[in-house]
Symmetry: C2
């Protein structure tokens, strides 16, 4: 994979020009893209800024994020060839930092569940996950050092884990969703895919103007970790649970403090209401598409929006109330168990075989609803070589702590 | 003015067809629009649904709201001729209710402060206010029974008051902002302009699928009112204060319970931080326009965005924290004084003379930041015939109570 920090280090040292760094990506794309199918469009002769803290960094942009220079097709025939007027806020920001939004990456239609044709670079024959399929696959295949995704259920963390890359869903609202096709305004969150945790931290620090998010040069110490299994939903697969146990044991051996933490009933209740909130809002967000192009919606999205028409304002408001209470409770949970972070699975197992499904988001939906920062870190692989991931979760707004603990976990995995 | 409920009553009674109701608006537009300049584009041969609870209702759509059938130009040359792919969520919803989005209405560029050329229908030579200038003016001039606006500072309540119409800014998030050009995602709120309070309540009930927002057929009783003057900002003009005092006295005479309420320090503090939150977010929301078309931004918006570049993430986060504390305190204030609603001014005075300014939002910004429902009700006029308005404010989510109390206040004004 291409590390953003390593590319930037070579550029800063003068051994690589920004133009040559972009060319590295172009070469990798020429080699891998025909087999992976992660991209839906790209700049053929990009302008490469000479300066800027992200000069030389090629970025993949999920195709539900507006780009003024490339079509934005939402993974749907309804937007075939569509060209927005403006760049999404994050895309414009990346350009001003010197980065090159080189390619649009595949997305399931409107970031729902209808699969893309993208292959998992780590295991052809398996899904890369979704909805940010192309962004995860492009980074995993070494085509790009940075890609943007979005998460409404589990659309960043799950594909990152399935593809064996780092994925970060920052705190809700930290990256602006302006210029992102909305599915659910309470849930939609921008996120990043990179080769390593330090790459994600560096990109996020620059994109948000918050230098404190970058990893410190000094050892950040050993985190106090709460191990969570979400007993209120179906159990995970044995190989995923084994990977989590291995990481937990290695963390403890390396000096971290581990505690088993059972999530209280209010969080289980909130978990069950994610869909009500998402669907009530999606019915409004996609009202034009539903009213005027229903036949062109995906075969999974269409009946889902049919059903979503029946979600009542009363059910929605009651669900929002529970979610608010759960969000208010979460800091108490961290305090009660004296935790820096929660450690849990990124997905219930490795990437499912075939391309009919993008996998299961049951280890993601609660945390998206809570708005808390989540980082998935590769944690070895199954006997058959499929990547597994573990997820580090911090308090809302505590993105720096999530990244530091994720870096600690990443170090353990590398020792493995 | 054209009352939505009155038009719908005639349609339901069979004395007016939806097509004829739209024609009424077309005739009024032909008569008044050349003098007022409230519209930037309109359907010349609209499809008029025969059915639906809003069939026959022509709607004005502020030109920062996406429309698939009409250009959406954001009040800015940067978007000259721009045609979005989809309708904004509220526009699509209105169509499904049978309404006809007949015209786009003028907006200050990106809903900031650079004035439009729209004239105040109640007093040529005076501003209609902003940023939703055209929507307020079109309803005031009797060209349309319903128009959509947006408020980030005071862009619904202020122009409604200046033009002598009812304006409603519902609770934050009640109407989806999907397809609205974002200025500040923490503040941007969709709102409505109508001839009367009952019209606004009926439209909002239908648009949100919440029948409970409609006014009850029975007398809703006498509200418990807290009179607020915002002592922490510059005093209002004497004629505006007189109008407020008249309304308060009439309310008391009609059986309402009035109390003077001084806002606590936390609300004054939040008031002072509205700009920090707005500007930090606007710098991101309009990053593409600023980076690529700075020269084409308005003469007021350009230097404002120049300055906004310097707002730090730290200042923003600190301001959000204060706003959150103020929001949490507000229900206590209502409880402590045993209030249904707050009554205050909609603007510090009548519409200023000339077209150089859209007026002052200091009686609006705090309430936008608090996310609470606000309704402005016409309250007589100055000695020279300029409309004045008073504002009814309820708790977050208590839109029904705000509308009922506003209806009570409106009845008093009509007795005046």
């Amino acid at each position: 994979m291409l590390s953003l920090l390593s590319l930037r280090g070579r550029i800063d040292a003068g051994s690589l020009t920004p133009r040559a760094a972009i060319a590295l990506c172009e070469t990798a794309i020429a080699e891998r893209e025909p087999e992976i199918g992660a991209l839906v469009g790209r700049q053929t002769d990009p302008i490469v800024p000479e300066r800027g803290p992200l000069a030389g960094i090629a970025v993949g942009v999920k195709d539900i994020l507006d780009t003024a220079d490339l079509p934005t097709q939402m993974g749907s025939p309804i937007y075939a060839g569509w060209r927005p007027r403006a760049d999404a806020a994050v895309v414009s920001r990346l350009k001003r930092l010197g980065a090159v939004p080189l390619a649009k990456t595949t997305t399931t239609a409107f970031a729902f569940l209808d699969p893309t044709e993208t292959r998992n670079p780590r295991r052809p024959g398996h899904t890369p996950g979704g909805s940010s399929a192309g962004s995860a696959a492009a980074v995993a295949a070494g085509m790009l050092p940075l890609a943007l995704g979005t998460q409404t259920g589990g659309s960043v963390i799950r594909p990152a884990a399935y593809c064996g890359v780092v994925g970060m869903k920052p705190s809700f609202g930290l990256l602006p969703t302006v210029g992102m096709k909305c599915f659910s305004w309470t849930l939609d969150t921008l996120g990043l895919f990179t080769a390593g945790v330090a790459d994600a931290a560096h990109a996020l620090a620059l994109m948000t103007g918050r230098p404190g998010l970058d990893l410190p040069a000094t050892d950040p110490g050993r985190p106090r970790i709460g191990l969570v299994l979400q007993d209120f939903c179906a159990p995970a697969e044995p190989e995923a649970l084994d990977a989590l146990a291995r990481v937990a044991a290695a963390a403890e051996a390396a000096g971290a403090r581990l505690r088993d933490v059972a999530l209280p009933a209010i969080l289980a209740e909130a978990f069950g209401l994610h869909g009500t909130i998402q669907d009530f809002e999606a019915a409004q967000s996609l009202d034009w598409e539903y009213a005027t192009h229903r036949a062109d919606l995906g075969p999974l999205l269409r009946p889902h929006l049919d059903a979503a028409q029946a979600v009542t304002a009363q059910a929605y408001e009651a669900s929002l109330k529970v979610a608010r209470r759960a969000r208010e409770h979460l800091p108490d949970l961290f305090a009660e168990h004296d935790l820096d972070v929660i450690l849990t699975l990124s997905a219930p197992g490795p990437a499912p075989e075939g391309y009919a499904s993008t996998g299961d988001s049951r280890f993601n939906r609660l945390w998206t609803l809570m708005g808390v920062p989540c980082v998935t870190v590769p944690a070895g692989s199954t006997g058959t070589g499929l990547p597994l991931g573990v997820q580090v979760i911090a308090r809302l707004g505590d993105d720096a702590r999530a990244l530091r603990a994720a870096r600690f976990v990443e170090t353990l995995a590398h020792r493995d």
